[in-house]
Symmetry: C3
Subunit: 504 residues, 3 copies
């Protein structure tokens, strides 16, 4: 068979190409070079998936051993484990070090050329060298992004309202069932899928017949992905494969992958903010690889990471803010994705929340917070103070206070506008112009309901983001106060049109 | 006359400036230097249009002769002619080599300082050195972009509905005639105009009185421009004047010039995709000039060109995909610009298509494909396999299969949503709430018709793009599934409002 | 008290850090080094606001004295004063040179460690070294951006319609009062606030208790900011603190901070124009610091600044356009922010304008220009000729003429579409479907009025921008002709829906 012949031929030349690849990787400065297991991987994969190997060869993982990484002084250290995970330490971090780690707990492990390999590398695997970061990330709303969405009946209904195929019966359009492929291609791209092993199946490859696990919910690199080892999250959402570069994670384009749409326009707001403009104009002169990251020296205006995640120091090495992967521990307000802005939830798993109406929502429909589930004013203030420690590097106390006054006012006024829109919706339900909770109908499927969703999910959110990040241009006409106001007026008219059409 | 004096003075110093310019161009490494004819051009134009000359001097054209270019080994060669066009070979490619080529077939040729010069350089002119690329481009839908639009009665009506000035008579707004300048400034900017020579007219210049052709449809660099030599297209749409750089053509900004709006948001989707984010973060370290283009070495994530046009090889020089200027020969589905997604048309000239209803459309109004005019499933699969050959460089077989399953599902569900919207529109026509084909009225001029257009031209397209390119953020809330769903519900309500208003 | 101890400790080490900072600044090449006063500032602020000091240390201000700057030959000179302002000349331009300038005229001056310091540096302060630029800027509409908005009753009403919190009474939504913090966070972010000194108040700092002025309208860097010294404007709107780099001002990201939204999408249009695409693809090879700025050599496609502000020369040093900070002296048409496009106003203070109806608007509601307040056709032509002098560097006369024909047509057709939309609105007022001037009601608060605003403020503007800057993709489907047409049709239907709802 022709295919098998090619396979034989390919096996015959892997030694040469593998050796060439390893030599290149070795020259990146590794003390110990790659492990035998990784050498075996590269033997074939330099040819089968050359892009992956080439990308990895340029990475820090390919050039440094754990033991070397551990020798770096305090703030410069990029690993947080006190000692190397079993079997790692004197070799660089290659294919096998991650794809064979914790093999027993991985339902996606399979026998592959003598190794027990798994496809999906998880935060639990990364924790071997980076346990502190993984632990912090567990307290991040993002790590719970799958559960907080799919495990919340209200938000599942919102998802369905966007993802379901509809049919028109001559008078109304009705939602059908939602296909899992559509969910995976839509909301769950960012929130994460549940990756499930269906079976192990053999198929032809360039190397002959081989067996692989068949996965559903794959491919996916969403931040709250449920992994075959039971863990949640995907470090490669931001530290992209197979370079895993800190520089990439620090650049706003990375965050933009899930924070650009009108529901969460952080990137768009940043890109019209002064910080964003300085980044765009000056980034070529900045050092995105330095650890720790020195403001003034390595960069002169913050990126997303600088404010929300990075360890930032002065030129003299004084710590301004500590590194965090919790992300919301420098912010008092939860600004987006919810009907009303409110204090951050205590638990990153928000499915535990119940408001007075018994719904899994952090506020009532009137905006009143479900206070027992939310951080208190003291904790809000403490988180704000952490962020301000960074602001004050380049801004005076008065400047910073004036800025935060405007944020608080934006929270107040956008919540008030959301309340007015909610009252229009309640009137629509009350008059029978639309069907809501009382009629046991989805609260997201009809046009006027979708206009209500936009009032908070798009326009109130955007206005708050624009205020918080100083991107006023976005918060006025782009998706902010102009539409917050126009959409409300249109909702009122639409309500009257619905009532008139019902009567006619 | 003062002007003539200045002209005399200018003629007097051209020798000096021309010489300086040529010396700079020569130093770019040309074996043979510029031709006598080009030297004459530069003599004046270094002063009259210094920006053009400066741009060209930095180009490969200014530094290499055809004969040198031909000596490059196979994959590195940038010319595809077996031998130099008449008169070219030992000199670099300057003004005269293009602007006097094929002078006889150019209706825009005019006598200019002893040379027969034409303004509009065409694919036929470029074919002297690059015949394979020009031939491939002839099979590209883009080369037919003028004809496929202006030669299709349905699309001409859609154009008019956007471009016509309207007047309000107190009850309704009516479309007036469309000015050719408006069309050229609107749809035809990208699709291309028809460039017609009206006359040759003399006017004053800095060099004294000179005669030039007067052109309509000019300036324009649209991809399907109808040229004064009868050819179609404009190579400089992507290989921009006067650097004609392959690096520029490989960068997404170039494609964005016509692929960014909501009707064809490829650039916006790319910019929130993982590929786009890696490009943005890492492009400074990539080599956009290398031919062939080695994945992993020259770049580590694809740009538009990598997937749809470029010759891509492995670090070891193995060909992953061959160069193409047909563009759609790596894609099975035609995703945008049409009511329903469908298999690509066999002929790049789509005006030959007739559906069962006799309209020049590739599907019925119900979505059923006009199959005899479209490629079959086998050809779809073959084109897909070509693209996947590139995907597999960095992704596993399972990864790629999972990705394509989602694309196919997106095609299916967006076509279903378009069908529902179409049924709402048919109901509007049937009930007299709007006027359509049966009333011999434009199907694009009324508000509810325009809502229907957005259902497919904006939201279904965008959802499919987001799926195909992994830019989910755009396909959910930006212009994707959320609006696909909301717009349909609004259409249903609008239909009822129209009926109520009619009754009242 | 712990805080005071820290203060003592801090005062103790400022000498060391200050000295280190100054040495770094000195090494940037200053002949005279920093002044004693600036040395005192840096002593503390290198520690208190290290980001500011680090940013400034990289600036030209930190490395050059006025006297050195004055020695540069003509076109290369970056200062326009004939001699140094009092006390400046032999030292570099540091903290004190700006923050203590003109102390007497600054209401925000306060005693600070022995110096009379002010927080808000104003154009009048910058005029010490840059008087010509400040003078030109005074003739810029932007310098009057606060007054032209807040001092015009019509525009104040438009602002309120977007910024006011609304309440729903069960039938209609009503506008409440607007909070000054909201205005500052919205329109006035770009237009500028009025910065007012409320009091001088003491508070604890890291250095012990100190007194500072308490300002309202702060922070703000809007282009028309009313400053505590009575001047208008903020140079740091574009020349951002504390680098004040000409390179930053020349990059489009800077302009995008206030010119990106749908009301003034200049940046978005640029980014899909050929110029913008060349900028994006090639900017890494351009020199944004060179003065004067040589087309072809320093850059090969214009940025915003090149066309509207910069001194641009040929490679040989011939002046193509002179530097200007008036901005509109190269443009004949005023394209945006107004109901109809019209010739630019004679006075940068547009509050002096009165149309025939007595309103402070440059046209009637029908589009007829308030001609006596506007530049005449001759001046329009002269401004256009200035711009074209730059176009002609890279484009032929015929190319340029063809381009401008399309602009003039776009002005004509978008004004006609605005007129049609205005007639629909007048009909709504006439029939009582909406309440307007005759009912003494805001003309911007109801849904149909907001649709009318979008017709001109978003869609007509965008179409004109797209035409003027060659960004057709934005002017067709993004926010241009498609919506200009669709919005009008929706207004007509909405009018009928309103009438039907009223009747029902």
């Amino acid at each position: 068979m022709k295919r098998m012949k090619m396979a034989d031929w390919l096996w015959g030349i892997v030694v040469f190409i593998g050796a060439a690849s390893l030599s290149a990787a070795g020259s990146a400065g590794a003390a110990g070079g790659v492990s035998d297991a990784t050498e075996a991987c590269i033997g074939c994969h330099a040819m089968v998936t050359p892009g992956i190997v080439a990308d990895w060869k340029k990475s820090r993982h390919a050039g440094v051993t754990f033991d070397e990484a551990l020798k770096k002084p305090g703030l410069e250290r990029r690993v947080s484990a006190a000692e190397a995970p079993q079997g790692i330490g004197e070799t660089t971090v290659g294919c096998a070090e991650c794809h064979t780690a914790n093999a027993d707990s991985h339902k996606d492990s399979f026998e592959h050329n003598g190794y027990s390999v798994h496809v999906v590398v998880t935060p639990r695997d990364c924790a071997g060298c980076h346990p502190v970061e993984v632990d912090e990330y567990g307290r991040n709303l993002m790590a719970n992004a799958y559960t907080n969405l799919k495990g919340n009946g209200v938000f599942q209904t919102l998802m369905d309202s966007a993802n379901a195929v509809q049919t028109f019966d001559g008078a109304a359009a009705h939602l059908g069932a939602v296909d899992p492929l559509t969910e995976a291609d839509s909301c769950l791209y960012c929130h994460g899928t549940e990756v499930v092993v269906k079976e192990i199946r053999a198929r032809e490859t360039a190397m002959g017949e081989m067996a692989f696990p068949v996965l559903t919910g794959w491919p996916n690199a969403g931040v709250g992905r449920i992994n075959p080892d039971g863990s949640a999250g995907s470090c490669s959402a931001c530290h992209m494969r197979h370079g895993f570069s800190i520089a990439v994670a620090r650049k706003p384009a990375t965050c933009s992958e899930c924070h650009k749409g009108p529901d969460v326009p952080a990137y768009k707001v940043y890109s019209v903010s002064r910080h964003g403009n300085l980044y765009t104009s000056l980034k070529d002169k900045w050092d995105f690889d330095a650890v720790p990251w020195a403001v003034g020296k390595d960069f002169t205006a913050p990126t997303c990471a600088a404010c929300h995640a990075s360890l930032v120091v002065t030129e003299e090495g004084e710590v301004l803010v500590k590194r965090t992967h919790q992300m919301n521990d420098r912010s008092g307000w939860r600004l987006f994705g919810v009907v009303y802005a409110h204090a951050h939830p205590k638990s990153a798993d928000t499915t535990v929340i119940r408001n007075k109406a018994g719904l899994p929502l952090p506020t009532e429909l009137t905006g009143e917070p479900a206070a027992e589930y939310l951080i208190d004013a003291g904790e809000q203030q403490a988180r704000r103070a952490t962020m301000q420690g960074l602001c004050l590097t380049c801004h005076s106390r008065q400047w910073v206070d004036g800025h935060y006054q405007k944020i608080d006012k934006a929270v107040e006024t956008t919540n008030a506008m959301t309340l007015a829109a909610t009252q229009v919706l309640l009137k629509a339900w009350e008059t029978g112009a639309a069907k809501g909770l009382a009629q046991n109908d989805s609260i997201f499927n009809e046009a006027i309901e979708k206009m209500w969703v936009e009032e908070w999910l798009f326009f109130a959110n955007s206005t708050r983001f624009a205020s918080a990040m100083g991107g006023a241009d976005y918060g006025v006409f782009a998706e902010g106060r102009w539409y917050l106001s126009k959409n409300l007026q249109q909702m009122v008219d639409w309500l009257h049109f619905l009532m008139a059409a019902k009567d006619s």
